[in-house]
Amino acid sequence: MPQLKALDGNRVVAEGARLARIQVAAAYPITPQTPIVEYISEFVRQGQIKAKYIAVESEHSALSAVIGASLVGARAFTATAGAGLALMHEITGVAAGNRLPIVMAVTNRALPSPWSLQVDHSDSMGERDQGWIQLYAENCQEALDLVLFGYRLAEDSRVRLPVMLCLDGFYVSHTTEVVSVPDEEEVDRFLPPYRLQNVYLDVDDPMSVNALTSPNIYTEIRYEHFQALKRSLTVMEEIGEEFYQHFGRRYAPVEKVELEGAETVFVTLGSMSGTVRHMVKEWRRKDVPVGLLKITSFRPFPKALVRDALKEAKQVIVIDRSAGLGSEGPLSLEVKAALYGLSPAPAVYSFIGGLGGRDFTLATLEKTLEKARELYAQGLVSSGSIWVDVKEAGD
């Protein structure tokens, strides 16, 4: 029987790892992820997880160790945040390029500099081209479920890719919510044991893995990776349906909230979706025709689904919780690319806010709607991202 418990984001990630029967975890503590490694260490000590926990000496070594374990046949897990993910960057490409089904939880934290302990998506955005599947959890229930969903997806023979599960630092990692913790036996029915596929280190079938690759074949290997990411969208929908059958909750690359008749649609990632979800209800009560398209899978970006969901809207408001320095917010670039060629196309308004842990308030949200409508009324689209919560000089 599933159990209802009051748990925070970090705790539910550890629960997910336990239920997924991970066999090797290697992690390095970094705010705000530290409770995850503490819980896992305790679970291992108590025998609740039959795993080896390696208290590595850096994040770079954490992912390296996890890759090693995965290559010999162990289901492996790690977690990090912010600068820790940045330190891992050299290795994230190794995990993805070798098509290893690792799940890594990232409690989103702003990258330095400036130094911050708190949330923004600059850390995971910095990994977006590495070839991982990137899923964003809105709340604690999603953070738990997506660990299980993540392994099932990663290990699917049509996918074989690592999954980065992003949950907002502090906003989700340290917030206690009521969650339904699935029954272990039900999880076993959903998630079969890990088995080696493709490349591995097995003395009974020796091969050299990850060797220097000539220009003759590099492109083809990358292309297969590219196709696997594309394919994974369909697999996600299939597994989402399976998950629903087992646990009664549905996951998909996107979630549509009140899009019926929505003139304005917000597009968001992570916990901010919860804020918008609340405002959409409020607005709708006053007959303001707004809706929300929540993105769960940022990589692969569900272009076709996004295009289809937004095509009837007049205005699309994209909110990025990362700066997109030198260009625009990364989520808004994806949305614009997804809408490219549509005629007529909705007007897209890109906003940046909530950086370095700044709260993206209901008032700020109202401002985005106001600003978008103002511009729309003048027949304008913003040429870049609008930094919506910047303080005026002298504030």
């Binding site: 208290a55 160790a65 290559l71 162990a74 280190l201 050299s208 893995v209």
Partner: protein, 270 residues
């Protein structure tokens, strides 16, 4: 380096997983099932051989596969410089793995740039006037960490190396072997003199052959009378810029170090 690789596989056998970073040893790797190693092999990044080894050992243990050797073969660059963190961490955690450093005293694979293992006075492309700093002693660092087994070895003394790899194979924890590996290209001498140069390093007392087993020192090849250091230095083009004063000073250091080592024999290293 090939001598080291061959000796290593001769001793360890087919139930072995090999890790190599991008380096001279990567030339043996081959691709997929056409691997030159003929055992499972993985190319790490330059600095994390020991981290991959840690994860591989943990994975093998949780799966109950306890009869497989895990060995890393890395150059001096990937060990004493960029590789030091991962190596120190893995040794501190006590994973069962063998780390063999083949030390050709520079980043040879990328064209002879200096490393922390380059000796004083040596020419490299990034120390064109001769390196000012002394060579890093990683064996001493790891012994200070309490590694169960560490040893120096030489490409000029293959059976000594083989015996040490055999010992390492049976350690229920980390072991480290630092192999002095003359490189004809980088050290500037004819390739046919490789073993000669390797032996001169040992016979002059510059590269003593010893092992430290559970903290106790044992010298595995005693040299009755040390040859003059100059013989080793003059055999290689990379020391052409060294002055007689430097040679004299270095010779004194080498002899003093050798005496100190002899005095410690049979005792705790520190």
């Amino acid at each position: 380096m090939e001598i080291v690789a061959r000796t290593m596989m001769r001793v360890l056998g087919p139930k072995t997983i090999v890790l190599t970073p991008p380096s001279c040893s990567a030339i043996i790797t081959g691709y997929g099932r056409e691997t030159g190693w003929r055992v499972p092999a993985f190319q790490s990044n330059l600095e994390n051989v020991a981290a991959y080894a840690s994860g591989i050992r943990a994975g093998l243990e949780i799966l109950g596969k306890d009869d497989i050797n895990v060995v890393g073969l890395a150059g001096d660059g990937g060990t004493v410089d960029i590789g030091l963190q991962a190596l120190s961490g893995a040794v501190e955690r006590g994973h069962r793995f063998i780390y063999i450093c083949y030390d050709n005293e520079a980043y040879m694979n990328t064209g002879i740039q200096r490393s922390g293992a380059t000796p004083q006075g040596a020419w490299t492309t990034t120390t064109p006037g001769g390196k000012a700093e002394a060579k890093k002693d990683v064996v001493a660092m790891l012994v200070a960490q309490g590694i169960p087994y560490a040893a120096t070895a030489s490409a000029g003394y293959v059976e000594d190396l083989a015996r040490k790899i055999e010992k390492a194979k049976n350690v229920n924890g980390p072991s480290y072997i630092h192999v002095h590996c003359p490189c004809s290209t980088g050290w500037r001498f004819p390739a046919r003199n490789t073993v000669l140069v390797a032996r001169l390093a040992v016979e002059t007392g510059l590269w003593p052959l010893y092992e430290v087993e559970n903290g106790i020192l044992r010298i595995t090849r005693k040299v009755k009378e040390l040859k003059p250091l100059e013989e080793f230095l003059r055999a290689q083009g990379r020391f052409a810029q060294i002055t007689p004063e430097q040679v004299k000073r270095w010779q004194e250091e080498v002899q003093a170090n050798y005496q100190r080592l002899l005095a410690k024999e049979g005792q705790r290293w520190n």
